[in-house]
Symmetry: C2
């Protein structure tokens, strides 16, 4: 049980007093979005990227932004300050708010929740499994960081039951897509590649940093490319760049190899730049 | 804004006081299930079918039931009684409860919410559209009535913007699957058919009543079968059997034709039997 404060619709509260309506469509229908943000030196790292993705998501969902950019940033800053944490992760959740029973939306303003917690040190490496379930690249929510995350919860539970730390999914056509909580990068003929958005993956923050910096390129790949890669790593805002050691129990030839280390250096520098300029 | 009571984890509350934790994984991750139950003569119709489906869902999600069958029924009955309603619909929501930040579940007991509202008279007929998005029959949540319902919200919004009342989806292979909030039945060579579970549709309550009574059979169909059918209707617990009048603007030849009327009679009798025996 956390003792960190939780910001709900304008008010900082103790965790056990932080509540939302039981009729919130975020609860009843998963009608919402989220961002999980790395905090270093009390600064939300890559804030602009997170904000842009959240705005894109709101537009995709057809929701009015419940707060201005400045208000949203203030909510995050207040939560960080009240927690007294320098390094942390922030979970920002935005839902469509309370509404009538049934899938149609109401007139209520959206709900905004900001929670904060530990930024655990990243694991040295991760074991991944592949699964029979697939990402739906033709979903109405493809590429959207939706709170309708029940699939992810189940797939991760399955991965952990089978001795893996994460699961990698193909899209419905068999293309490599992403891991549940991370994007996937791998070496193909000496180059660093990652699946394109057409395979239904989320536009991850670290993925964006690496692609924008020219460190990697997008490419259509079959799921089986994982079994032929010399190096594989996963990326996420909170963990950064983490090597994959095993795929379905098979060892990856080069764990934390040159492409992985180089990508991590790019990530670490980008974080440092972001903190310095904030 | 409703004045109906809302039951939350053992307590009946006014709607504006009915709250759940802002850290509930039902809110942050869509990790939950729901049932929408028809109430007639103050009795939750087809209760056993709803309860069985909920139990199947909990097992699928790997969640412990937060309440016994008797407690769950008592919560529904209390809510109906406190509302003073005879005819209504009840929304039962069960989530995995509060947990740590991130997709792993916590140790908390689940959250149970029971809300009640109007049972609107069913529409005379519905216009449906087909959509480019597809149901993922290979999802970890295929066939589960999950609160991760964000896709459905978006697809319905799209349908309504285009002048339709509902949308019908194919699965990823092009097979007819279901509507967002209802199962679909249609005439094929004079027989009444509905897609099988393999096409990713939900095991609807009215669908179950019609199949168990031998009124219809399951069959694999292409989405385009909708354009060749003489009769089409949708089924859901709250609306019963409702004819489809148009598919993508094309009129359906026989609206509320003999197969539809016969299915409605079966449904109405099954409801009457359920109420009489409760």
């Amino acid at each position: 049980v956390t003792t960190d404060p939780v910001w709900v619709n304008g008010t900082l509260l103790d965790a056990d007093e932080a509540v939302v309506s039981a009729l919130d469509h975020g609860l009843t229908l998963g009608d919402g979005l989220f961002e999980t943000i790395r905090v270093q030196s009390s600064s939300p790292v890559f804030w602009r990227r997170h904000l842009d993705r959240l705005r894109d998501g709101l537009r995709h969902l057809g929701l009015r932004p419940p707060l201005s950019d400045v208000q949203l940033r203030a909510a995050v800053d207040e939560t960080i300050e009240a927690s007294g944490r320098a390094d942390a992760r922030v979970r920002l959740t935005v839902t469509s708010g309370s509404g009538p029973m049934g899938p149609a939306r109401g007139e209520a303003a959206g709900t905004v929740v900001v929670a904060i917690g530990d930024l655990a040190p990243p694991p040295t490496s991760l074991r991944v499994c592949t699964v029979r379930w697939v990402r739906n690249e033709r979903s109405a929510l493809a590429g959207v960081k939706s709170t309708s995350y029940g699939e992810g919860v189940l797939v991760l539970e399955h991965a952990r039951r089978t001795g893996a730390d994460e699961a990698v999914l193909a899209d419905t056509t068999g293309r490599l897509s992403e891991a549940v909580t991370a994007n996937v990068f791998l070496s193909v003929d000496g180059a660093l590649v990652t699946p394109g958005r057409a395979a239904g993956c989320l536009p991850g923050i670290v993925r964006g940093v690496l692609l924008d910096g020219g460190a990697a390129v997008e490419r259509d790949l079959p799921l089986a490319a994982l079994l032929r890669a010399d190096e594989i790593f996963l990326t996420s805002a909170t963990r950064g760049v983490v090597p994959v050691s095993h795929v379905d129990g098979h060892p990856v030839p080069s764990v934390d190899g040159p492409l992985t280390r180089s990508a991590r250096t790019t990530f670490v520098h980008a974080v440092a730049d972001a903190v310095a300029s904030s």
